[in-house]
């Protein structure tokens, strides 16, 4: 077979080194979260001490709760809006203001977060909005709906459109054709989009720092202020819990896309 011989030793080495580079630091962080010693660098045997410490840290728990609420609400709104945007862009043909629309949707994907955060804060201040849960949720929705739109749009683009057209030839109106044919086919991408939005929101430090108010810090904001003071084993434990949560989310997302995408292509480009 030609395929096997195409892989040179150099290819294998760069793959192995690359993956090791991506995974070892996280693995080390997780292992040290179970370290009994207070010194992060000295191994003192296995222990759950730092997890215990975290669960007794009221401020941390409150921040984690705030982050979870923001992540769930913003991911849900973002999935709704992002899916609508993707449908309009990939099925709407030409419409007035389309270029501006797609521009506004793609720009936040790479826009430095300091700019997005600062501009939203200035808006909230001008509107005299009370900063806290809702302002952070709106800010995260704005960022993450763009990611959802891209994920869903790429799925819609790879879909066989004759299926929708067949449904309409058989007498479905467009809305019915969309709901009963298109929607089930793009469902895995929508699920993947929600998961991506959820993890992005859970992860965000910069935009949340700008848009939150006093007394309602998110988990990354708390972690950040602790990390600036140095390495603490409790932080390793929190980080490990977040990684575990995200791992569960990824497993669900990939199961969802496997269950309903029999067309071979993976749903999420990101």
């Amino acid at each position: 077979m030609r395929k096997a011989s195409r892989l040179s030793r150099f290819n294998v080495a760069s793959l192995a080194l690359g993956l090791a580079f991506l995974y070892l630091p996280i693995l080390i962080l997780v292992i040290y979260s179970f370290n009994a010693s207070r010194l992060v660098t000295v191994w003192g045997g296995w222990s759950l001490r730092w997890y215990h410490e975290f669960f007794n840290d009221r401020a941390m728990i409150e921040a984690a709760w705030m982050s979870l609420r923001v992540a769930v609400s913003s991911a849900t709104i973002a999935t709704l809006l992002g899916t609508l945007a993707a449908v309009a862009l990939s099925r709407g043909e030409r419409f007035r203001g389309r270029t501006l629309f797609s521009g506004m949707l793609y720009a936040p994907l790479v826009m430095p977060e300091v700019i997005t955060g600062l501009s939203l804060l200035l808006l909230f201040v001008a509107l005299n909005a009370e900063r806290g849960f809702w302002t952070v949720t709106i800010a995260h929705t704005t960022l993450t709906m763009c990611f959802v739109a891209v994920v869903v749009q790429s799925r819609l683009g790879s879909l066989d459109r004759s299926l929708e057209e067949a449904a309409m030839d058989l007498g479905c109106d467009p809305v019915r054709a969309f709901v009963s044919v298109t929607l089930p086919l793009i469902a895995p991408a929508i699920v993947a989009g929600w998961m991506l939005a959820f993890t992005l929101s859970l992860d965000d430090l910069v935009i949340a720092s700008f848009t939150t108010g006093p007394g309602s810090a998110t988990l990354p904001i708390r972690i950040y202020s602790e990390v600036r003071l140095g390495v603490k084993p409790e932080i390793n434990a929190i980080c490990t819990l977040v990684i575990a949560l995200i791992a569960v989310v990824i497993v669900i997302a990939s199961l969802a896309s496997k269950l309903s995408s029999s067309q071979g292509e993976s749903a999420a480009p990101l």
């Binding site: 096997a4 892989l7 996280i26 862009l89 629309f101 521009g103 977060e113 980080c239 999420a268 480009p269």
Partner: protein
């Protein structure tokens, strides 16, 4: 009328809600940044002199226009700190993008040459770190790079150094952090173009007697340029405005523009200057942003 056109009409209505949302929370806020960048700093809450009161009518508008001041931009242009910050941001972004390309290319190339089954697995493995928190990944490196961290322990044990090396608060630490965080963004577009490439082209070149490096340089690399461009833009643009990585890993003697903006805003509470810095940052990034948007549009709207 074709089914496709009939379908398009209600699909357009789907744009309304996200359109309104993006105008309100993405476009309009920029107008505020622009406006406040032209205001005077004030010791108040919020800490700027409002330039324009929409309720006061036409005369107020004229007065407001007269009061607009470019002082903040003049300050940015005259104070070396800001010039250095912009220059440093660009230097860091160019260097880091080059490093990412150098490190990411062999990995993407290796992925594209795997058997099909394994390509999907490798892609998931590259994507997963992107899903895990940015901050956590930087924190993981602080663990490794600190004074008595794992890297120094290994170096000492191997007798490669006689004393612990200072890694934290250096540019090397920052570059490690940037490369680590942005590597998936570089690998994925590269892999996408390399995987689509026809293997027969490389084989033909080899059959005609080209040595491997020539095959790569004359056939593979030129054909992968769209991926190189996409990966480079996807990394370069956010790195220019990066805040967290330089803040946690680099030293504090030379700041990037994202850090100066943050400092002006949170520490000095000088909102107008921070806004002016954001406007300049946006202006610097305008060309790469437009390039990126065209690329993204082409990729998503003309099928993959």
């Amino acid at each position: 009328m074709s089914a496709r056109r009939i379908f398009a009409r209600p699909a357009r209505f789907a744009a309304i809600a996200p359109y309104v949302w993006m105008v309100l929370f993405f476009l309009v806020p920029f107008a505020f940044v622009l406006k406040i960048s032209l205001s005077q700093t004030a010791i108040a809450q919020p800490p700027y002199e409002p330039v324009f009161d929409p309720m006061a009518g036409w005369d107020a508008l004229k007065a407001a226009l007269a009061a607009l001041s470019f002082d903040n931009f003049r300050l940015l242009a005259s104070d070396d700190i800001y010039m250095f910050a912009y220059l440093r941001s660009l230097t860091v972004a160019v260097t880091a993008t080059a490093l990412l390309l150098l490190i990411g290319y062999p990995i993407a190339y290796g992925m594209a040459r795997l058997p099909k089954r394994w390509q999907a697995v490798a892609m998931v493995l590259v994507i997963v770190p992107f899903w895990t928190s940015f901050l956590i990944r930087i924190y993981a490196w602080i663990n490794i790079l600190q004074h008595d961290g794992l890297l120094n322990q290994i170096l000492l044990a191997l007798h490669l150094v006689s004393q612990p090396v200072v890694w934290l608060s250096t540019d090397s630490a920052m570059y490690i952090g940037i490369v680590y965080s942005y590597l998936p963004f570089m690998i994925l577009p590269l892999y996408a173009t390399l995987a689509k490439m026809e293997p027969a082209l490389e084989e033909a070149a080899a059959d005609l007697g080209a040595p491997p490096w020539q095959v790569f340089w004359l056939v593979t690399f030129p054909l992968s340029l769209p991926g190189v461009g996409a990966g480079a833009l996807l990394c370069f643009i956010p790195i220019v405005g990066e805040f967290v990585i330089p803040d946690l890993l680099a030293g504090s003697n030379s700041l990037m523009i994202g850090q100066t903006l943050w400092l002006e805003f949170f520490t000095n509470k000088d909102w107008p200057v921070a806004s002016a810095a954001a406007v300049v940052l946006l202006a610097v990034l305008l060309v790469p942003l437009l390039l990126y948007e065209r690329l993204q549009k082409r990729q998503l709207e003309q099928g993959r």
